[in-house]
Symmetry: C2
Subunit: 231 residues, 2 copies
DNA sequence: GCATGTATGTCGAAT
DNA sequence: ATTCGACGTACATGC
């Protein structure tokens, strides 16, 4: 990886066009050819970048550009997608180079899957007398997170999300439409369960007769721990 | 901005827990306190990071950790969100420091907002005699990009996308369903307008009686410029 | 500040 | 290879 502090201007052309005026920035060139242009603030997202696969070519500097103070022009391009980054280097302030090698990678421990698991264990949160049929109940268009039966024995499909947005309601709607075609299951009602449900998603869900259920992850996890201690 | 090549291991704890085993990496510390950990590959997204606002504290290295080769421990934390990054530095391979100052920022061109704006100005592209009612026409489930009236005075809802895919058609369908319940508006027809429309999206749209309209951004921008020159 | 929609989203898994 | 859903999404914008 090569890292350069330089005064530069950058043009991106591809899915959109974007331009960075001349200013001092950090340019990171990774071993796979990708390039990142960072300023001294903002988030982890670079101001501009090219993702691998791409290749760096050093272009000729025209007389005119040299007079304007451009010392080098780097073209970083992806031949396949036609994306290209033109980096005009005025002054290189400092640079480093280092062989880092392959990274062992990030080990994650997520919350998302845990919610479904917890609700399957604490299915009475849906309503008294509710029984779990199965998790990841299969349908032709993908598995429903939870299939349960309510106290009256009627099927209820539950979509579990960390954050409940409109897409999730659409997903559950598709499942319900399909499930209700099966005479062995119908009528199947739906529950949209999430730690947080956006107002628009709630409106859409309730408009479609889908019940919304707010999940308290902390409390559910706490209940889970207590049970763990009992056994 | 300070940039360090170092052998390090990193622990993140916050919305999830994640761990990076010991390996050589790039650590970027920005002026606003944010920290990025990059490997020599992957995309522009760092392996791990902390966004501003956050503060870096240098922790004591325990005897045990020193024996394991840890020379420094950096704690990067956001007091408010309880997110924290523990960076254990084993060996610093190289480093640089540079004052970059405030960046003038990225200038973008060709995003959806611009398309919507252009179509609002050139609403006759929809058909002769079409008039703009308003942009961002509000509904309970979100704003419709453009609401227009055709030559016959009938309402037409337009969804503008850069790339027209299935979820865009779904979005417009939801709006149409809602809008058509309003007797003051109904009947409302739909137009799916995009620079590029995926075949599946086109099939779905037309199946639902939604007209597809391909937008030529270059031409629209050109027309815009010509008009600018006329006035 | 909250809520919502877009993104050069990225990323991974399943089809 | 493509599609789909999740993301520590980030980010701008309207309210």
């Amino acid at each position: 990886m090569r890292v350069v502090f330089a005064e530069c201007s950058v043009d991106y052309s591809g899915r959109l066009d974007a331009y960075l005026p001349k200013a001092p920035r950090l340019i990171m060139m990774k071993a796979d050819g990708s390039v990142l242009i960072h300023s001294d603030g903002g988030s982890y997202k670079p101001l501009n970048w090219m993702s691998a696969p791409c290749t760096l070519t050093i272009l000729d500097v025209t007389e005119e550009e040299r007079d304007a103070g451009v010392s080098q022009i780097w073209l970083v391009a992806n031949a396949k997608t036609n994306d290209a980054l033109h980096i005009r280097i005025f002054t290189i302030l400092d640079e480093m180079d280092c062989q880092l090698g392959q990274d062992p990678g990030l080990v994650k421990d997520g919350v998302e899957a845990h919610l479904q698991e917890l609700l399957a264990e604490q299915v009475d949160l849906v309503g008294p007398g509710t029984r779990l049929v199965r998790r990841e109940f299969p349908t032709a268009i993908g598995p429903v997170d939870l299939m349960v039966k309510d106290a009256d024995g009627a099927h209820v499909a539950i979509e579990v999300k960390r954050r409940g947005e409109i897409d999730g309601v659409e997903q559950l709607t598709r499942y319900l439409e399909l499930l209700n075609r099966d005479p062995l299951l119908a009528p199947v009602t739906g529950i949209f369960a999430a730690q947080e449900i956006k107002p628009q998603a709630r409106v859409l869900a309730e408009d479609r007769g889908i019940r919304c259920l707010l999940l308290d992850y902390g409390a559910m996890k706490g209940t889970d721990n207590v049970e763990d201690r009992l056994f």
